[in-house]
Amino acid sequence: MTSAISTSTVRLVGVAVAGALALSAGAALAQTVKIGTPTFLTGAAAPAFGIPAKNGVELIVRGINNGELPAPYNTKGFAGRQVEALIYDEAGGGTKQVTEMRNKVQKDNVDAIIGIISSGTCAATTALSEELKVLTIQTVCGTTRVFEELNKDPKYVFRTINTATANNVSAARYIAAKMKGKVKGITGINQNYAWGQDSWRDFRLAMATLMPDVTATKKPQFPKIFSGQYGTEISALSRAKENLVHSSFWGGDLEAFIGQSSARGLFKRKLFVLTVGETVAYRLGKKFPQGIMVGTRGPYGMYVANDPSPINAWFQKEYRKAYGEPPSQPSYQYAQGYLAGKFAYDDAAKKAGKFPTTEQVIASLTGATFPSFVGNVTMGLSKGHQIVTDDRWGVTVWDDKKGEMVLEDVVIFPPGCVNPPNGVKSADWLKGGMKGAKC
């Protein structure tokens, strides 16, 4: 009993002190919404993913805070309050990221987290977001495990990008539509970790349904991640009888692979699907191979470079002006997370008549349809927490006049065509022959 009393006394004092601190802090910062944004600032994922993502965030936050964006986002800030983005490094593994998210929420008092590139980080922090009751909008990670295994009943966690499954399904659909008769078997080279393994499995299953007479290799290549040397794998791929190569390589590994394969003429001999190839296409410029299929996991980057929608036109123009290069997919994907945030805060404020609570913001975002860069997108899966967007595929070609890589022969697959129906697990949907797809 005594100990209980002393505990509660101590707690009371603690609460009083904390309250006083919060009041003084609140008075100073009343006009900002603090957003924690993890992205790779160091390490192998920084150049192709982390830095473009950071640039996209800085641009969209500037646009939001100054009210520069076209309608309906032409009001200033999130629900009238200026946005302050705390960008921090996503390197260092899941444990480090759990600690950092806790620091950002409990030490720096951020109002929401918008970001996350790696599927590993998403998997590691999902439970924590729920525990800390912090609105978290995941922007790039693609693992289906987030809402299908780890967090089946999400409340605070949202994701504003299609799953990796959607991307591989649409790749298979593109091949089935455009290359019937040309494809004589599929093989793959993917990094030997969760992302690579999942990507190959999804692609193989989707192909088995759509083109059942095309055989898949029994010996796909799975080199170590960050190995950088692919001599033996390229030899094996050159000799393989299958003529279509699937790869989910990204970042430095992808650049190394492209360099080494180009030197040996592999891109001339095989058909290629690079599911996130677009991330390095602008960086490599003319050195990027032509005539191959590259993905952006939705209407982002290269696929919308010429789209005249007002928000997109603003983003393209301002991004090129600010950074001297076109925006690639991570810039779009992170910026889309911030658009979702702005939509939810503004909508909740309108409904509440004052600055909204986190719960009200969540209610506004759940299942919402909101305007993004190219038309509307919907939080359509996993109880309204997982976005569904269209997905696009095309073939690279160098445009001499523009001096950059562009895409031709583009096909747009609607959301219902590449995502499982609500409530069906991605893996079951793929194994069951993708029933219920609306193309």
């Binding site: 101590v10 707690r11 899941g94 759990v98 600690t99 806790r102 409990q106």
Partner: protein, 332 residues
């Protein structure tokens, strides 16, 4: 009795009481840093035990990861009690150390260090490649119960902190007593002259084997605490070689003078990392490396040597004063 309950024992006990008192005031993020320091501190004690024999392991993330993954796997099997999980984590890590010990006790110096690393990288490879082991994404770890009790949400982490503090305390006191025992002291002799130890009738290999198992057990404890604290296990943050590097970093930072110092070293390391990360998001690795360099240059025996350094200076000053006094008396 007095041999067991010495200054270090009382120091550790006061430390424990201090931690338990602090638990009421800590903000949640501080408690989180504290829990991770306790976890890494346990592993660093294991390294300290090896270090006293002149052995450095660049692969103790192997046992750390084994402890952590045991927690995740046991939860999948339905076991969810912290104390059961701790025993299982220690058992798997300890058994692994026991078996590997037969090989590793034959090696010294760089061969020992790198063989350990090789084994940890084998585990890393297996975990990263096997989908049923979670691949690189790893597993989530659910909230645990405490001897069947499930506390209210706001009491969960404070209670976890109390348990972790007790585990760390028992580990530290146990390690300290071991190091003071004949077997423990002998291993310093092994470092100095192995052949002479053999001539005295002891087996140096057996002594090292015992040490190796103990360090494995301690790393297992650290792994269990870390898995439950973070709520997630994955190969990159539990088994990859930089994780082993972190432990060596902490051991160098703390110095091998005293088991208590390892926890101070672990805490300093956590704080260094947290603030370097916050104030220099692009350069935090550089700051960590730079501080290690400074420690090695200016405090080659670690933070603990500050204490003995101060004592030496005081004694020197005292000695000088004494001799001055004597000289003055002679003159008089």
């Amino acid at each position: 009795m007095n041999r067991l309950f010495d200054k270090t024992f009382w120091g550790l006990t006061i430390g424990l009481v201090g931690l338990l008192a602090l638990n009421f005031f800590l903000e949640e993020w501080m408690r989180s840093i504290g829990l991770q320091s306790l976890s890494r501190g346990c592993v660093a004690i294991g390294l300290l035990i090896l270090w006293r024999t002149g052995l450095v392991s660049f692969g103790h993330a192997l046992f750390f990861g084994f402890g952590a993954y045991t927690v995740a796997m046991m939860q999948i099997l339905g076991v969810n009690d912290l104390f059961v999980l701790l025993i299982c984590g220690m058992a798997t890590a300890g058994f692994l150390a026991f078996f590997l010990g037969f090989l590793l006790r034959k090696y010294r110096a760089i061969f020992f260090a790198l063989l350990n690393m090789a084994f940890s990288m084998i585990l890393y490879g297996v975990l990263a490649k096997a989908e049923w082991l979670g691949s690189t994404d790893g597993f989530g770890v659910k909230q645990v119960s405490f001897i069947g009790m499930t506390p209210a949400d706001d009491m969960y982490r404070p209670l976890l902190f109390v348990c972790a503090a007790f585990f760390a305390y028992i580990s530290a006191v146990g390690a300290h007593w071991y190091l003071k025992s004949t077997l423990g002291m002998m291993t310093m002799a092994v470092r100095e002259n192995e052949i002479r130890v053999e001539y005295l009738g002891y087996s140096a290999e057996k002594a090292i084997h015992v040490k190796y198992v103990l360090s494995g057990l301690l790393a297992g404890v650290g792994g269990v605490i870390m898995a439950v604290t973070v709520g997630h296990v994955d190969p990159d943050s539990m088994v990859y070689w930089p994780v082993s590097g972190d432990f060596v970093f902490i051991t160098i930072l703390a110095g091998t003078g005293n088991v208590g110092a390892t926890f101070i070293g672990a805490l300093v390391y956590e704080l260094l990392r947290t603030y370097a990360f916050e104030f220099a998001p692009h350069l935090w690795q550089l700051i960590l490396g730079g501080s290690l360099l400074l420690i090695i240059m200016f405090l080659p025996d670690g933070l603990w040597s500050i204490r003995s350094e101060l004592r030496n200076r005081r004694e020197l000053r005292q000695a000088k004063r004494d001799s001055d006094n004597r000289a003055a008396e002679v003159r008089r």
